[in-house]
Symmetry: C2
DNA sequence: TTGTACGCGTTATCAA
DNA sequence: TTGATAACGCGTACAA
């Protein structure tokens, strides 16, 4: 900035002002400064700026996995909203491990973000402590709690499982099995489904769990319950659309008709849900709205406001298509 | 650090040393310092550290889309390698637009990253200039060029199209159509396929293009060529596995048998390629190796080394399964 | 093994 | 409308 100022015939401070609040600089000097910037290729140092102003214009986001469309799609709108206000996103994966999350939080905090987004509501005690100590807005998403660290936007996973079960019962299904991915939230959804469905139908609901929830795992699980005789028709409730899609593929490969021979219900309403054959009955969560709400809550808190509702339930809805 | 030092009975510098190089501090004082850190909940300020040391321990990564598994999977290994060396990734989406990329590069440069990763080899002139001026390692990935800004790890998209065509001809297909996503690299792949296939088979290859390459678009494109009579059997070459998967779904919905009634070839060898029915013949790019090579090239350059081969071709291979 | 002094490149405060 | 000066919280000499 000093070099730019020298070239424009002004001091370093004036260059700083020209960049942060052009209205405080006369049009003529502003022009000279811009000319100097263009000539030198000067790029301001945001590190120094952040250090001096105590504003990093950085927002941290921690998600279990960035290759999972479920998280990346809500992040897309979250970061879009924040980028519009000049914030940049510092993104990290935490896996599904609380200790790894704690380590990542510490790393992020050292960059002095102006706010931080966490996935889920269950964290290591140390994580909570660090976050409280940091004194910045914290928003927990993709789950819901009455006792958030600060802010929370999400929905109840058990409630979504209950909704699936109620639908299944009312649609006339009397037997069911559950296929779940290994992460804690998926298991809570399926556990709630199994508990409610078996209570209403009187038949127990076995729940199979796989570490990762891919297409291949969906196929393999269906093959497994079919070959072992665990499943003789009825409904297959899956913790994700991808798993459900795998079930569809395996069923087709065995010349089984969906939903006649077996019915399938997914979770997430990803793009593929409507595009597969038959289209998937699934639970839709408005991920974009979730990301947007999280952003506006954070933005309000950064402005110093105290939101009337620090916990926002975005809800979900069952989309009935042809698979069940 | 001063406060921590006071509590531990040492100066600020000693605290700094305890954190950056514990071997330079006596075990006793180290213990006192760690106790003080634990007591105060002190988290070092990486902004100040970066400002003083001229090392931000930050590496920028710019990808067209983070919801696209193709990019996020190579990023996963890239960031894993760098995280192991203490670097953090500053990630941004650029869409498929050169101007947006330039603006994002400028934003990232203001954070003084120690290196930067760019997707593709075609950039705005201004981007090249800024990057050269920044004087940091730059690695361009997912495409290849003889004249990189600095480093390059990727493969030739036209060559992959030629490989598809050569396979198709040798497998006996005499007619083909191409389905391509709208991005520049996808189109180059399909254009190369069409050119080579028609040269060898003597029949022209129409190429359909869709802005986004989703499952629904794959279905719609197949429905379209079938209903309009543009396609009467032969091979469908797709710019991605997802598009190919859409073709598979639509074919099954119409009771068409693959590969007998129509054959399909994809690109990318994503997880789904082996899991669908029939499994997809596709082009595999080792995305993990790509991310890893990019990381080690960058790391070497950061260490001040001059890599013998600044341009690395990772190549690709055709995986023949049952769809073609 | 530890400490002193200084500088990194900005913003904030105050004065002109 | 502009400038001088002092932080911001660390690392890096250099000295002890």
């Amino acid at each position: 900035m000093q070099a730019v100022g020298r070239m424009a015939g002004v001091s370093q401070v004036t260059v700083s002002r020209a960049l942060s609040d052009p209205s405080k600089v006369s049009p003529e000097t502003l022009a000279r400064i811009h000319a100097a910037i263009a000539a030198t290729g000067f790029v301001p140092n945001a590190l120094a700026g952040a250090l001096a102003s105590h504003k990093s214009m950085l927002v941290s986001a921690l998600v279990p996995s960035m290759t999972n469309i479920v998280y990346s799609s809500m992040l897309a709108t979250f970061s879009e909203e924040l980028r519009a206000r000049g914030y940049q996103i510092l993104l990290s994966e935490t896996g599904f491990d609380a200790e790894q999350e704690a380590a990542t939080v510490e790393l992020h905090l050292s960059r002095r973000p102006d706010a931080i987004l966490l996935t889920g509501v269950h964290h290591a005690p140390r994580t909570r402590k660090m976050l409280l100590g940091a004194g910045i807005p914290v928003v927990e998403v993709w789950d819901i709690t009455e006792t958030p660290i600060d802010l929370c936007v999400g929905f109840s996973h058990p409630a979504s499982g209950h909704t699936m079960a109620d639908f299944a019962v009312s649609a006339g299904y009397r037997t069911a099995v559950g296929f779940s991915a290994g992460d804690e939230r998926a298991r809570r959804r399926l556990a709630a489904f199994a508990e409610r469905f078996s209570a209403q139908s009187g038949t127990p609901v076995p729940v199979k769990v796989t570490a990762v929830g891919g297409l291949a795992q969906g196929r393999a699980m269906l093959a497994d319950v079919l070959d072992s005789g665990t499943f003789q028709g009825g409904l297959i409730a899956c913790s994700s659309d991808v798993l459900a899609h795998g079930v569809l593929i395996e069923a087709a490969a065995r010349n089984l008709t969906v939903p006649e021979d077996l019915a399938v219900i997914g979770f997430g309403d990803q793009d593929l849900a409507a595009a597969v054959e038959p289209p998937l009955t699934t639970i839709r969560v408005n991920r974009e709205a979730l990301g947007r709400s999280a952003a506006s809550l954070v933005l309000a808190r950064i402005r110093g406001e105290d939101p009337a509702h620090p916990v926002i339930g975005v809800g979900f809805s069952l989309i009935r298509r042809r698979s069940a």
